[in-house]
Symmetry: C2
Subunit: 129 residues, 2 copies
DNA sequence: TCACGAACGTTATATCATTACGTCCTTAAT
DNA sequence: ATTAAGGACGTAATGATATAACGTTCGTGA
């Protein structure tokens, strides 16, 4: 189930995301794929949907944009550190905090199915000055 | 700085949010405020902007919607448990996990300025069946 | 009274995302 | 080989979320 063959459009979208250290919006992707023949937003959104299902891309909710997955445990949540200066997005795992958050919510009866964790700030390079 | 007097539009928006256990979009709010004379999205967005500055409302990134703040420590991050069945949103603090996340990112040189933490799942009521 | 800044209202526009519909292609049963 | 079914596709239209631009009104204090 994990290793489905990608369609042409899915591969094109994934490649562009993998090439970028910043998150790209669907329309950013569309612009970069005009030369490949893509014409309409829905083509990009369909590819993103399929790639998301397979865990190959993530949506960054606070940016309405997307990144390629760096390859994490599919059963664990993904966190993102987002530099508001240069745009760089870094994916990370946070097993201890993930458990902490689930427990905290669980104590009030909440059953967590997925979580969004996005840190905004300055990356190592941009923080130096 | 914390206790500014609210304008009429700001108070109207805040009241509607405070009345709702679910997050409301700007357009939800606009619909509910037509009778009060509001006509355009920008009026709602301006009020939301000002209320956000004052820490009285929060944006739920994964819903493109807004909730009233339940009154938390302004220096701490706010987390949200969102029931995908009934829409109820509950704000919570998570000091231990907050520190954990900051440290984790900080270890790689990332300087965290704000964070988005949103749990999706089932509230206590909806989880029972 | 006047100058200033904050908030306002109106309109238009930008940005992000989905629905609807018909076509083409692969695959597998006949 | 024929054909039915499903999946992916392309095109067009639309829906949903958010901001820009502009001039006016209002409150406040010099
Ligand atoms: Zn990942
Ligand atoms: Zn940076
Ligand atoms: Zn709060
Ligand atoms: Zn519920």
């Amino acid at each position: 189930m994990t290793a489905r063959k990608l369609t042409r459009n899915q591969q094109l979208v994934l490649d562009r995301l993998a090439d970028s250290s910043a998150a790209l919006t669907a329309y950013d992707l569309l612009d970069r794929l005009r030369d490949e023949g893509l014409r309409a937003p829905v083509q990009v959104y369909r590819a993103l949907e399929a790639l998301g299902q397979q865990g190959l891309v993530h949506r960054i909710e606070s940016l309405n944009a997307f990144v390629a997955c760096c390859g994490h445990d599919p059963h664990a949540a993904a966190g993102f550190a987002i530099c508001d200066n240069c745009g760089e997005v870094t994916e990370f795992a946070f097993p201890a905090s993930e458990e902490g958050l689930k427990s905290l919510a669980g104590a009030k009866g909440f059953e967590t199915r997925r979580m969004t964790v996005e840190l905004h700030g300055r990356c190592a390079t941009c923080a130096e000055r």
